[in-house]
Symmetry: C2
Subunit: 387 residues, 2 copies
């Protein structure tokens, strides 16, 4: 059964090898000053920066630089971005890069005209914007977060050792996003597979919740199968356009709100993983990978029917044996695929030490949408099992 | 491989038992005069009309009646609706009913400020609107066409014996749509199954085209499986909310442009079926059902790999035998399901006679996106095989 819900996703997407032409179509709709947001400089190495700046200039825009957004954007960086937007009277926030820059751009969008501290208002208290927002556009160069077509933003506060997300409404969603799969070719293998796993896990978070057999489950299974199939091609042949384009498109739909309509969702892998991210600054997708297997093995007895469905419909395992046996066979297949991709499945490799575990449990935002709410003991056991 | 494309679908959806509350949220965004568009009066019998008018009054709107939209809206009716909108200075076109009223509302939207004959401009010549359009909202009471979240409109010209569609851009798409599965409970069984088949066939039209194995195919198979599964519940138990809600949601996604992104599409079942509709005024979904099997059996040798994939992934048939045998097993499963639903699969039952066949072939818009372009002889053979 599908509960009451609304669906509204106005982001306009330009997809394909010629997608950057969409930027020329969009820019005239906005004012003169464009705040160009990017990360550590990889877009300068792969030529995307140059192409984007050429289009901005051709459209007569004044470019205000806002580079150096880190993989886990900090609250200090956010305060700096707000200051840039205020002092230059930014008309459009243009994020060029992966999910971090998109997230950061959305957080700046909702904060420029906000009188309160955005960390407190949006991330700690979870309130909605009560001020005008700035338009955001994206040119995506890394696949995984889905930030290019949703209202989500995750910001890290290193002093408080907290990494927290807020999902903004459709006003803050990107007005447009450019999706050229070729722009993802130069992403290092480790980042590529972390992004693939991030996208896959977004689907799991929405799938492993609720007892209904509805359209969302069917769509989720389809996207998961597609990601598994195409990831196997992409790790062997990273410049395979078919695989990279399917991964890019599937990752966008994995977290643009479609799959969660009318059902409960879990998000506890993200709850556990974000605690690890706040402590270690490790790559987001790898933190999810490291906590996934012990968490799902903890969850399995409480949602056996769904884990069995996952095993049969996503991994096509043998239907012999008890429900629990079939369900565990699905998690074994997941584990094999994760190893095949070279994902980090041990927290120690991300810099976690035994003495951090209590702190990680403190920093974990415990969600209640899945098949069970974790006790503190279970959280500690999951972190320990992954060490 | 996914080709270049854009995706932009800004329709806001309110779904569920409480979805009509969305109308109260939306109405204040528009001017005072609402043109209330509906069909033959079923919404007066099932109470939806009364509920909608109560909300319109509570929001202080002036209601201009525009009822009597027929199942295949005619060009004469369209001219009448344009006249109503012009003389009353309509601010919002509110369609309450099934695909016909949504289609009609979109055609009126693009025509009110158009100086040319909309039949010629949009439907015969396929041009885009060059004038301002009026906003459209929908309250859906019948599932199938997908018109509630796309830019499509089909209009029939009985004098010319032509039924033609035009796909308008996102400006003409409904600004909002109310989707309450309970509003579909009173649809007669014959209309319900025709709508279910319409939705299923929309997916087929986008699926049976192209050789690539991409995300769209995975999503299409998921939606087809969901429709088959839920239709079997709905025909036995029409008030099963879970089945009706899944059917409603799947039908919306079957034709809101997602599935066709980056791939070629066919639409020849609609080409053949709309010719039948223009001649007989038969229910749209039934015209599609009647031409489907002979058309797909004609197409099968040219797209065997895809028909085999359809057989295995949608119908879960045995993988024994040659590709052609497996593929035909899928069409047999489709045929069994169509009979199980009580769909009309013979043109004679829709009023077609042998002497009409040449005229039907003349009226068929031949598309070129599928696995083969039909010759006139093949069209005649398909119509004849269905008699």
């Amino acid at each position: 059964m599908l509960g009451n819900f609304t669906y509204h996703n106005p982001t306009k997407l330009y997809f394909g090898k010629d997608a950057l032409q969409g930027l020329s179509e969009e820019l005239p709709k906005y004012g003169k000053t464009v705040q160009l947001i990017y990360g550590g400089g990889s877009i300068k190495q792969n030529g995307v920066y140059e192409k984007v700046v050429a289009i901005l200039k051709a459209c007569g825009k004044t470019v205000v630089e806002d580079g150096g957004v880190m993989p886990n954007p900090t609250v200090e960086k956010l305060y700096g971005g707000i200051e840039i937007a205020r002092s230059h009277h930014t008309d459009l926030l243009l994020a060029v890069g992966g999910g971090s820059v998109c997230d950061y751009a959305k957080a700046v969008s909702a904060s420029v005209h906000c009188d309160e501290d955005p960390w407190k208002k949006y991330f700690l208290r979870g309130e909605e914007p009560t001020c005008p927002t700035l338009p955001v556009g994206c040119v995506l160069t890394m696949v995984g977060t889905g930030s290019e077509m949703n209202g989500g933003a995750v910001i890290t506060n290193p002093a408080e050792k907290r990494k927290l997300g807020h999902v903004f409404g459709s006003d803050v969603m990107p007005k447009f996003t450019v999706l050229n799969p070729e722009f993802t070719y130069t992403v290092p293998m480790r980042q590529m597979v972390a992004g693939i796993y991030d996208a896959f896990n977004h689907i799991c978070e929405q799938y492993f919740s609720g007892d209904d057999d509805n359209v969302s489950d069917d769509l989720s299974e389809a996207l998961m199968r597609s990601i598994v199939k195409n990831s196997r091609v992409a790790v062997r042949d990273p410049k395979n356009y078919e695989a990279r384009s399917n991964l890019m498109w599937a990752a966008t739909w994995a977290l643009n709100t479609l799959l969660s309509r009318g059902k409960t969702t879990d998000w506890e892998v993200h709850g556990l993983g974000q605690a690890v991210g706040a402590y270690t600054d490790a790559t987001h997708g790898m933190t999810l990978a490291a906590v996934t297997l012990p968490y799902y093995r903890t969850l399995l007895p409480y949602g056996t029917a769904k884990f069995k469905q996952f095993a049969l419909n996503v991994w096509n395992v043998s239907p012999e044996g008890t429900d629990a046996e079939i369900a565990e066979r699905g998690l074994s297949a997941l584990e094999s695929w994760m190893k095949e991709l070279g994902l980090t499945i041990h927290l120690r490799e991300l810099g976690v030490r035994e003495e951090m575990l209590e702190g990680l449990a403190d920093a974990t935002k415990n969600r209640s949408g899945g098949y069970k709410i974790l006790t503190r003991e279970e959280m500690l056991a999951i972190f320990r099992a992954s060490l």
